[in-house]
Amino acid sequence: MFSRFRNRMGNSAPRHQLTREGVRLCDLHPGEKARVLEIGGSEQFRIRLMEMGLLTNDIVEVDKYAPLMDPMELIVKGYHLSLRRMDAEKIAVELIERNE
């Protein structure tokens, strides 16, 4: 019962370590826009983001944080997407529009 489950969902895929230092997606404030430079984390996470349209070189805008400060809401390709901060930490970005 348990083993069957683990085999199917089990995640032996390698994790991608970010090569870049600097700003992470989770560091941004609401209203700020950034360009995605690199996406780290598990293969499953990276594929999920690709499917959902968050790829390198894309522009993302941070819309807001949830009332309990996690997760965060982004605007990508014109739609709203929510990510946990711990996952957003695996995304290296370059700030292109600061929120004054």
Partner: protein, 759 residues
């Protein structure tokens, strides 16, 4: 008429795929599960131009990779069942991301019709889409539709017809072109594939999937001979691509697909310059507001609870009354026999006990449908994820957990709102610890008997303990049996929409009928078992001759009555003698009236005493009979198991019957203490008997904890079986909760005894 053609409806979640499916098929739908997985499978039919079409609603997916069960199901169906036509529903207001899936469908190469849904919202966003050109670029006819109004459905049916009749001008196969570095590798792999024996039907698609490191693709290549060479070529190709792109081959291919989509969009989509108003964003400014978000969420949860359980209480009472009436009427009509008892008490009574949950379940599913269709469900997940994440759960899991305070059965069925099977199982497993309303009568009784001063506090403590047990178990499970299967939380927050009543009703019915159909069988079997346990053995040997006792009591009463009459007659005779000389007859004197009143009140008193004595004998007989039936013997049998907790055989029997439903614990006590089974929680008889029994407040507390934690009822078990789809998990849940209940009750009893606390 020719054979029915298969139409598969594919699309992203939240693209309105189900609306299109409903519009195509109407109410002629069949809901089931995909074989082997608990993913809903919907099938319907429609007839157009004398041709029958079988429509399959594929699970909503963002892509056709194989990282989720839904994607796997959708892809296996498209590739292996080879539907005649694929209808790809695309959200026109969110075109870029939606067309990503389209690129993959184009590559698979089945005949394709593209539905541009939500055209109204796209217009609101200021988007102008040239559907003609888009169709040419994608190699498939494009039909603009407003799913909510059904505008354009007939055009869609026409296009489907023309595709299968090969008269569509748009339909032509195109290849998604990748960059030359990738194309070279695709060609290399394709060459190997084409050379081998029994090459796959769609060589190019398989080649791309191989480059994407899609492990499951090998399952389609079972008949392919030269796997070694293919593996080697693939590995080399991937290496080369990754060297050039400095990224995974899958990322490179995804980039190329989005490149294709962007290219197509540049040709056909014009955006008006005016900044469009994002209504959803405005609504969200309030509903997910940093301060207001949580109270508003709490308000919605409260409303949902009140609607489900308070409003549901009315039809619940009607059904309850109806079932009781039916049972009583049948008992009156049919002579007593084993068969009639089996049918009336066992089957009708047992299933009726579950049927009372129907209103709750349907109302809950209706509210859930509103939350899902309006788009607020995703916001609930967004707001609560922080809290639920600590349990290793998705934010949405909060809803079934809270509903558990009302009743675990609809709550567990509500776990269907969760996408991942692992989350569904985890939420289902910890749900029974949320103290449902059926446990309250037991708390009121026991806490009322032993903690009359602090009953409220004790009861509240039970609720808190339940939540703590749920949190503890959730953490435990996610670190052990359900480890490492959590999916990353990447959630779309779709635009808000006004729900459509017809679709709400359809969703409610679809989910509710599952309860009726599937749960009915389990409950029926369970009810028959429980009935048999209480019915057999037919002849029980009683330690006392209760009938003789009753007869003796009747005799005594009759004797007493005669005595009173005699005494009265004697007094009257005496009075008459004294009144002989009087002017008025004795019968009209005050003294005579006094005598009559005295006689009547005496008679009344002894009649009451007589009734009470008879009832006592009857209750004792019932108690002994029950203890002699299998269910009672089972209670005695498990006495050694519960003795370490300070429980007697009475608690044993009460706990066994409590498996059927928690509130039965109270009526069982009523029977066992010989005070009658008319068990309302105010039953003073049970309360006094409990206090006078061997039970101490400490044992009472241990008993409460046990009742809180062990499997709530048969219906919950059936729901767990239904939602996990496995007896394994059901057994696990029952055993785990029994174990936890036993250990905690044991701990409380032992520690309490050692400290001489509450004894």
């Amino acid at each position: 008429m020719s054979r029915a053609l298969t139409v598969a409806v594919a699309g992203n979640p939240n693209c309105g795929k189900t609306t299109i499916f409903n519009a195509l098929t109407g109410t002629r739908q069949h809901v089931g599960n995909w074989p082997g997985v608990t993913v809903e499978r919907k099938e319907g039919r429609f007839v157009h131009n004398e041709q029958t079409y079988k429509v399959i609603d594929l699970p909503g997916t963002y892509s056709l990779s194989t990282y989720s069960v839904e994607e796997l199901v959708a892809r296996d169906f498209i590739v292996q069942d080879e539907p005649d036509i694929i209808v790809n529903v695309v959200d026109a207001s969110n075109l870029e991301r939606n067309l990503f899936l389209t690129t993959q469908l184009i590559e698979i190469g089945r005949p394709l019709v593209i539905v541009l849904n939500m055209m109204d919202m796209a217009r609101e966003k200021g988007l102008k889409i040239d559907t003609e050109t888009l169709g040419v670029l994608l190699g498939a006819p494009v039909v603009p539709i407003v799913g909510r109004t059904g505008e354009g459905i007939d055009v869609l049916k026409d296009k489907i017809h023309r595709i299968q009749a090969h008269t569509s001008q748009k339909a032509r196969h195109i290849d998604i072109q990748y960059h030359r570095d990738i194309e070279v590798q695709i060609e290399k792999i394709s060459a190997v594939l084409a050379q081998g024996e029994s090459p796959p039907v769609n060589v190019r698609w398989v080649a791309v999937k191989l480059l994407e490191k899609d492990d499951r693709i090998w399952e389609y290549l079972d008949g392919f001979a030269d796997k070694e060479k293919l593996r080697q070529t693939t590995t080399e190709a991937i290496e080369q691509i990754e060297k050039i792109y400095q990224d995974t081959s899958r990322a490179a291919i995804s980039h190329a697909r989005y490149g294709f989509v962007r290219g197509a969009m540049q040709e056909c989509v014009r955006s008006s310059t005016a900044e469009p108003i994002d209504y959803s964003r405005k609504i969200d400014k309030v509903l997910t507001h940093r301060v207001l978000g949580l109270p508003i969420f709490a308000l919605f949860m409260w409303l949902m609870f009140v609607l489900t359980f308070d409003l549901g209480a009315y039809p619940m009472d009607w059904i309850d009354a109806g079932i009781s009436w039916l049972v009583n009427t049948l008992h009156a009509l049919v002579p007593d026999s084993m068969l009639s008892s089996l049918v009336v008490d066992g089957m009708i009574g047992g299933v009726g006990a579950i049927a009372v949950f129907l209103p709750n379940i349907f109302i809950l599913f209706f509210v859930i449908a509103i939350l899902e269709d309006s788009g607020y469900m995703a916001r609930m997940a967004f707001i609560m994820d922080r809290v639920m994440h600590t349990l290793g759960l998705h934010g949405k899991a909060f809803i079934p957990l809270v509903m558990g305070f009302g009743c675990n059965v609809p709550a567990i069925m509500g776990t269907r709102i969760l996408e991942s099977r692992r989350d569904r199982i985890l939420t289902t497993l910890i749900n029974p610890f949320m103290s449902c309303s059926a446990r309250l009568p037991v708390y009121i009784l026991v806490a009322g008997a032993f903690f009359p001063e602090n009953a409220g506090t004790v009861i509240f403590a039970m609720y808190v303990l339940g939540v703590v047990a749920a949190i503890f178990s959730g953490k435990l499970f996610s670190k052990t049996v359900l480890r490492g299967m959590s999916k990353p939380f990447v959630l779309e927050l779709p635009p808000y929409q006004k729900p459509k009543l017809s679709s709400l009703l359809l969703h409610t019915w679809e989910r509710g009928q599952v309860f009726i159909r599937k749960m009915g069988t389990v409950i029926l079997v369970g009810s028959i078992i429980v009935w048999a346990l209480g019915y057999f053995p037919r002849e029980v040997e009683l330690s006392q001759n209760y009938e003789a006792q009753s007869a003796r009591i009747t005799q005594e009463w009759e004797a007493q009555e005669t005595e009173i009459e005699h005494a009265f007659d004697a007094s009257v005779a005496l009075g008459e003698e004294q009144y002989v000389s009087a002017m008025v007859p004795f019968e009209s004197s005050g003294h005579y009236k006094e005598l009559v009143t005295q006689r009547d009140s005496l008679k009344q008193q002894i009649a009451a005493n007589y009734q009470e004595a008879l009832q006592k004998v009857d209750f004792t007989r019932q108690a002994e009979t029950m203890s002699q039936k299998w269910i009672g013997r089972l209670g005695k049998l498990i006495e050694p198991l519960v003795a370490p907790l300070g429980f007697t055989w009475r608690e044993g029997v009460a706990l066994v019957t409590g498996f059927v439903a928690k509130e039965i614990v109270v009526s069982t006590y009523g029977v066992l203490f010989g005070v009658g089974s008319d068990a309302s929680e105010e039953n003073a008889g049970i309360l006094t008997s409990l206090r006078n029994s061997d039970m101490t407040p400490l044992i009472g507390l241990a008993f409460l904890v046990f009742v809180l934690l062990y499997t709530p009822c048969l219906a919950t078990m059936a729901a767990i079986r239904r939602e996990t789809g496995s007896w394994g998990w059901t057994t696990f849940s029952v055993v785990y909760s029994l174990l936890l209940a036993w250990l905690l009750a044991f701990g409380i009893y032992k520690i309490g005894s050692a400290l001489e606390w509450l004894t």
